[in-house]
Symmetry: C2
DNA sequence: ACTGCTGTTCCACGATGCGGAACAGCGCCG
DNA sequence: CGGCGCTGTTCCGCATCGTGGAACAGCAGT
């Protein structure tokens, strides 16, 4: 449990393969890889052994094998993910329609607003940033590609919930970690918030997850009318002032519409904002 | 063989674990993941089976297991690397000193020159881009993080060879693929080129790998005086004109010196350019 | 209907990875 | 100095786990 959102919790442990068994050693390999995070990118054997709960010999054999095959690297007594993962990750991002298309759209959004622009997708009950274009403002780095964040805090997460009823049900019925005073944790508040997001076609977050950050996000839909991800901007909350919001919201909505269009989504005729049935139905 | 440089060829197949055996299924898993590339980010079962040479049942079991654990994703009959790899890759980049420090230095280099700035490291006989800051020029994307390129073409590769004698020996004694008319393939030309690079402290490439691209790179040294990577700029060759080169070379050398300093390297006293003994000896 | 291709399931076999136990190297503390 | 607790590492016999051949299903093109 090192990622700030608790990892890809939704898929951990459940083995649901249809026909044959799953290869268990791959699960152990993943448990090892999941110990690493941008905050803890290097770990010792002991830390890994304790974090995974594997017997020493098994853990070491696994580590050596992962090392051999480039999943891990080793420097003295510190282990870290191997550089090969960068190459595979590049293919992963490229393999998703929304990831492949994100670059130019995000750059335009970043240049129009001046803020960091990002695309988020949902996986296993959390959201992951698929692409980022950073602001030119000289501030600390807020976001990075591959970052795992919760769905229940921040505009990107809220958008992903607002347009996926089953997901919202699942996520919001569990306990919701409170990150700041503004984090939404109350069930009724959520109902209202998600309805508002669906009505407006975008979400705003003001210090829900990070006490100093704000963001605006809008949904991206695929050819089937289902939500494929969220696109938005984020930055220091003091820059998200009322006088700018209207223009920024428009820019975010344009970026979302453009991405949706590229994914083959046909917006409902006569409507400016994409607003298909919540829950993923076809409009 | 899908990556333009033929993958991490140097480490494929050799099993050199000291004590126990290595877990072979992880090698098969890697063979599968290695089939994907930014150019071919989605593959069918049949393509994977042929590319890996695995028996159908073994291949499918592996694919299902990799799917189960998030290494892969599946959409209909297309398989692709899983988004989880992005998260691991972020930790991988963060885990390397040079990767962790690269961001601000690259941004400065990019802003000083206007061209795309990148950090390269060597792994298994090829080079991999660890970090990129893209130019603001509206041109096609030349480089991306995690990209695998050959060592024997392009300024970044040449720098990595020039300051690692053993590596140069190994790489240059094999066959060298010719990418353009300017690709260096002659043994004697290489001797001269590497000597020149060491004398100057930087390397220049003009359409050696890509008929329309040029680049300038300089070595980054770690605390032990060994080469840790290369930092440089790349762009359309028509922008790399003589009148700009002097200033750009200076910017690249400054970026390299700054990164080396951050890694704990102490430049030889009285020398402007870092120039330790070639081959990785302590200065 | 036949052929060739996809992707999938089944199953008995035995190689392969398992993990307990014992070991080695080090720093700490009494 | 000797003992203790902690690292990381090696060993080895057992049975578990992954293996891959074979057979199947679904489909497209002759």
């Amino acid at each position: 449990m090192r990622n700030s959102a608790g990892g890809f919790a939704g898929t951990v442990g459940r083995v649901v393969s249809i026909g044959g068994r799953t290869i268990q050693v791959l699960g152990k390999a993943r448990r090892i890889l999941d110990c690493f995070s941008p905050e803890q990118p290097e770990l010792t054997f002991g830390q890994l052994r304790r974090a995974t709960g594997l017997p020493p010999s098994t853990c070491l054999r696994l580590l050596n094998s992962l090392l051999e095959f480039g999943f891990l690297e080793r420097e003295g007594d510190r282990w870290r993910p191997g550089i090969r993962l960068l190459t595979w990750a590049a293919a992963a991002a490229e393999g998703m329609d929304i990831g492949r298309r994100a670059g130019p759209v995000l750059r335009r959004l970043r240049d129009a607003t001046g803020e960091t622009a990002a695309v988020w997708v949902q996986r296993g009950g959390v959201r992951v940033s698929l692409a980022i274009e950073e602001t030119h403002h000289p501030v600390r780095r807020l976001l990075s590609v591959g970052q795992v964040l919760p769905l229940h805090a921040g505009s990107g997460g809220k958008v992903l919930l607002a347009y996926d009823e089953a997901l919202a049900q699942r996520v919001l019925s569990g306990p919701l970690q409170r990150y700041t005073e503004r984090t939404l944790v109350d069930r009724e508040a959520w109902e209202a918030e998600l309805a508002l997001i669906r009505r407006r076609g975008y979400a705003v977050s003001f210090e829900e997850r990070d006490r100093e950050a704000a963001s605006i996000s809008a949904p991206v839909f695929d050819a089937g009318g289902r939500i494929a991800g969220a696109v938005g901007i984020a930055g220091p909350s003091q820059r998200f002032q009322p006088d700018r919001m209207e223009a920024w919201v428009r820019s975010v909505l344009e970026a979302a519409a453009e991405l949706s269009r590229q994914l083959g989504y046909r917006a409902a005729a006569g409507s400016e904002q994409p607003a298909p049935a919540a829950g993923g139905g076809t409009p």
